[in-house]
């Protein structure tokens, strides 16, 4: 080992040693419990969806109408009104189970957010997509969970990571509450500075037919809305 290697090792040791006293305070029970709660919630949704499908019920309750991403048996729809769009920024496909599967290129999707909005609407999913602007309805309390997602969004939009690492977003038009649409607000290029250029967004359900309050100010920190 030469002196350069020795110096490098010393620097890296110093860096590593500097955090020697750092320990995680979160108990494992808290982690496990949180995981159990989320699993139960997913199972409830999946089970309820299956019951509704078997009995032919009209899906009127949003919390029960969201199918799990990648539901077995769903294939690309060729029915009238189905949408299949491929652009450099995104793809939108209607499936036979009524869901709309969307993929997007993280580096490009904000370049054609209006195209994505139109494609989702054409597929029967009400969406409002903006860049650098964040909107909420008059009754919206502004709450966002730690992932930037508002209440109810997980019932109409779910992400599923595929085997090749890509993420497919499954939108469920039938799960959208009446009078609501999904608002997606992407960070603008200048706002991306806070994420080192990596895309970020906010999703929340907003009312249709009423004036929305929109601002270029990013939403406040979680828990302070």
């Amino acid at each position: 080992m030469n002196s350069h290697d020795t110096q490098a090792a010393a620097v890296l040791d110093a860096v590593k040693d500097s955090l020697d006293g750092v320990t995680m305070h979160t108990p494992v029970e808290q982690i496990v419990t949180a995981g159990h709660v989320r699993r139960r919630r997913r199972r409830l949704i999946a089970t309820a969806t299956g019951v509704a499908a078997v009995t032919g019920l009209t899906l009127g309750v949003p919390v029960l109408s969201s199918p799990p991403a990648g539901r077995p048996g769903a294939v690309l729809s060729t029915a009238a009104g189905s949408v299949h769009i491929r652009t450099a920024a995104f793809s939108v496909d209607s499936y036979t189970d009524g869901t709309v599967h969307v993929t997007w290129d993280k580096k490009r999707y904000f370049q054609d957010h209006q195209g994505l909005q139109q494609a989702l609407r054409d597929a029967g999913f009400p969406a409002l997509v903006k860049e650098g602007v964040f909107c909420q309805g008059p009754q919206d309390n502004g709450y966002l969970d730690p992932s930037g997602v508002g209440p109810g969004v997980d019932q109409v939009m779910q992400g599923e990571r595929q085997g090749d690492g890509t993420v497919v977003f499954v939108f469920t038009p039938s799960a959208m509450p009446a009078g609501k649409e999904l608002f997606i607000g992407y960070l603008s290029p200048s706002q991306l500075a806070v994420t080192h250029g990596q895309p970020g967004s906010v999703e929340r359900l907003v009312s249709t037919g009423v004036p929305l309050t929109c601002t270029t100010q990013p939403p406040p920190p979680h828990g302070q809305a």
Binding site: L19, S147, A193
Partner: protein, 165 residues
């Protein structure tokens, strides 16, 4: 059985992962939140995560990805647009070397990520390259540049007793 296995993994890996994420984000509480969220996701997908060739790297990678969607929690960093470089959020946290964390935070993101995986997670160059999706030679180059920068800063600080005061 699975839960026992996960709990053992958590106990053995949590501090290492926390240090790695802290080295990258520079904020003690944010790092703990991110790592806790990441472990929760790992537990939900434990069947596949437990078979990952480098589960700790999965945790850290997921935590750093999660941070992207937590951007709005980092209002202090919005000050970047107003000409401030990086908010020091560790000064009030006893036991942390805020000067060294700040030095890490000043590194380019990719160099910092290489430090995180190579140094804090003890991954070899090949695995680090796979996790970050870059060539092994690029990992070596980033690590070398990061070491040079950090060494220069430390030497500079050592030669200037008032630095950082």
């Amino acid at each position: 059985m699975q839960q026992l296995e996960f709990e053992e993994f958590y106990q053995a890996s949590r501090d290492v992962c926390l240090k790695a994420v802290l080295a990258s984000v520079g904020d003690r509480q944010l790092a703990e939140d991110l790592v806790a969220e990441s472990f929760t996701r790992a537990w939900m997908s434990w069947h596949s995560v437990s078979r990952h060739p480098a589960p700790r790297a999965w945790i850290v990678r997921a935590a750093l990805n999660t941070r992207v969607s937590w951007w709005r929690r980092r209002r202090r960093e919005v000050a970047l647009d107003r000409g401030h470089e990086i908010a020091d959020t560790t000064a009030s946290d006893p036991g942390l070397d805020s000067a060294l964390l700040a030095a890490l935070r000043r590194l380019p993101q990719r160099q910092r990520e290489v430090i995180v995986f190579r140094v804090f997670l003890d991954l070899d160059t090949k695995t680090t390259a796979e996790v970050l999706g870059i060539a092994p030679g690029t990992v070596t180059a980033h690590l070398s540049r990061a070491v040079t920068t950090l060494r220069d800063q430390f030497i500079s600080a050592d030669n200037n007793p008032e630095a950082g005061s």
